[in-house]
């Protein structure tokens, strides 16, 4: 039997995240895809997997497999869209890895894309994002995505006796990190007063707890190490894992932890043959401050209830013991939902091949990315390793 070779990232590409008024979903997807293909030395692509959450609702466009293939001159190639709410991007990456590991495909192109600003009213974006929750038992009653996370935040704060300030450390660090990142959406610093005085979105969740709305696309070429053309910047996907939890938040017994995130972490670590202490750099899903903290805990980096202390201590800074989201994370780099998981993994791949530019941290060897769909109902973890 043929030995199992790890899937390898051979090429990376992404667009800036912003309100791209002049560019369509197709324009963004093809821009990122072409950059990734060029970065990989333009190998023959056997399949395309598109990660996207909201194109049907917001853009009136489904069948993105065909749309994206045609937009980059690859009509004829097998191509589908994969959806797992805000984790659609990393879901696409995981299924690309499985495709390559099947030995049926040599090279797979992953494109995560979201074009959110084609609707211009907040109420409509809020409605679209709420489709990640349970329509019949949550959304029907007026649940919004922030409101469900706000209930988790209240529960977590009560369980561990956290103050409003404690949730501010993470968004403040994310904004600080994004200032010199050219593809980031919010490139300005915020301070604790600004955080505490930001408007309430869904009490106790404030505006500065929330990732912004934006458009963007990110792409990866995933291949086998031996088949890669450009071998100077390969990064191995050493392990991956995913898990689900109840669709509705109310059907979980413990609101101050993310079970699916814990399971996905265990699975990814087991496949990689690594432990949490091996991480040199971390990408967490800080769509809301509390979810960022719960990610750090599920990854086994800090004890439950202690994530805010870890971030406040400076250990999560670029120069700290374990840098977290050096490009600014969802909060400041941006969160074009179905593209986010691909951005996380693309940024890690650049870090692990010393190509991250101003956000480069010193000599990382192992990185992990956690991407969360829903309020923790569908979680994907990828562990990346430098190729020597």
């Amino acid at each position: 039997m043929k030995s199992l070779q790890k899937p390898t990232i051979a090429g990376v590409g992404f667009t800036k995240i912003t309100a791209h008024w002049k560019q369509s979903l197709k324009d963004l997807a093809s821009e990122a895809a072409v950059k990734a293909l060029n970065d990989a030395g333009n190998p023959e692509i056997n399949a395309i997997i598109v990660g996207n959450m909201l194109s049907g609702i917001i853009n009136g466009q489904e069948n993105l497999g065909s749309l994206v293939a045609e937009s980059i001159g690859l009509s004829g190639v097998s191509s589908v869209k994969i959806e797992a709410a805000c984790a659609s991007g990393s879901a696409a990456v995981m299924w690309a890895c499985l495709s390559v590991l099947s030995d049926l495909f040599d090279s797979v192109l992953v494109v995560g894309v979201e074009k959110m600003t084609d609707v211009t009213d907040n109420e409509d974006v809020t409605s679209a994002l709420a489709t990640a929750a349970d329509y019949d038992y949550e959304v029907f009653f007026g649940a919004t995505f922030p409101s469900l996370n706000a209930m988790i935040m209240r529960s977590y704060a009560k369980t561990y006796n956290l103050s409003p300030e404690d949730f501010g450390y993470l968004p403040i660090l994310m904004h600080k990190n994004a200032v010199d990142v050219s593809h980031a959406q919010l490139r300005f610093p915020i301070d604790m007063d600004g955080y505490l005085n930001s408007p309430m979105v869904s009490d106790p969740l404030k505006l500065f707890d929330c990732a912004p709305i934006g458009d963007g696309a990110a792409a990866l070429v995933i291949t086998k190490k031996d088949g890669a053309k450009n071998s100077d910047h390969l990064v191995e996907i050493a392990g991956f894992g995913s898990a689900t939890d109840t669709l509705a938040t109310y059907r979980r017994e413990d609101l101050s932890r993310l079970r699916a995130a814990e399971l996905a972490t265990t699975r990814a670590l087991s496949m990689a043959g690594l432990e949490s202490k091996d991480f040199d750099i971390v990408q967490i899903h800080d769509a809301f401050s509390v979810i960022g903290y719960l990610n750090l805990e599920a990854l086994g980096i800090v004890e439950r209830g202690k994530a805010h202390e870890f971030v406040a201590s400076g250990d999560a800074e670029r120069s700290g013991a374990l840098p977290v989201n050096p490009e600014g994370g969802l909060k400041a780099r941006g969160h074009p939902v179905g593209a986010t998981g691909v951005y996380q993994i693309a940024e890690l791949a650049l870090q692990l091949s010393d190509r991250a530019g101003p956000s480069q941290i010193e000599n990382p060897n192992v990185g992990v990315a956690m991407n969360v769909g829903g309020t923790g109902s569908n979680v994907f973890v990828h562990i990346l390793r430098r190729v020597e």
């Binding site: 919004t144 979105v201 609101l255």
Partner: protein
């Protein structure tokens, strides 16, 4: 934006859940659930019977929505909560007959039927459970 239009068939087929808190009871392990599922999430048994859940419970956690989705602008701000019923089953819904400043975790509430949403000027008007403070 059609994502928030109330779809009449989906409301109609859930009337027992929305008017009477119809849930499920596992005959194998005794677990109660809302809504009723095909398989018990605790023990995996398929022997699930319909059951009406208790109408009293307490607030586990809550939020006050200041940024509403389409269709809920009129009600804003409104209160959403997770309620643990007397038998331990959890449900999610709006609190009513209460000011935001009066809510506390652990407070006792009871089910009532109220108008939950109106879908556009000529759309369906949906009634369902909300929870109000226990007198």
């Amino acid at each position: 934006m059609w994502a928030y239009r109330l779809n009449i068939p989906s409301h109609w087929r859930l009337l027992s859940e929305r008017y009477r808190l119809a849930g499920g009871y596992c005959e194998n392990c005794g677990h109660k659930m809302f809504p009723k599922q095909k398989i018990c999430p605790k023990c995996g048994s398929e022997k699930i019977k319909p059951v009406e859940l208790p109408r009293r419970g307490k607030v586990i956690t809550y939020t006050i929505v200041q940024t509403p989705p389409r269709g809920f602008e009129y009600y804003t701000p409104y209160i959403l909560a997770i309620i643990e019923l007397e038998d331990g089953t959890r449900v999610f819904g709006q609190l009513t007959d209460i000011e935001p400043s009066e809510i506390q975790e652990g407070m006792e509430v009871e089910m009532t039927i109220r108008k939950v949403r109106v879908s556009g000027e000529s759309g369906a008007i949906a009634y369902a459970y909300k929870f109000r403070p226990l007198e």
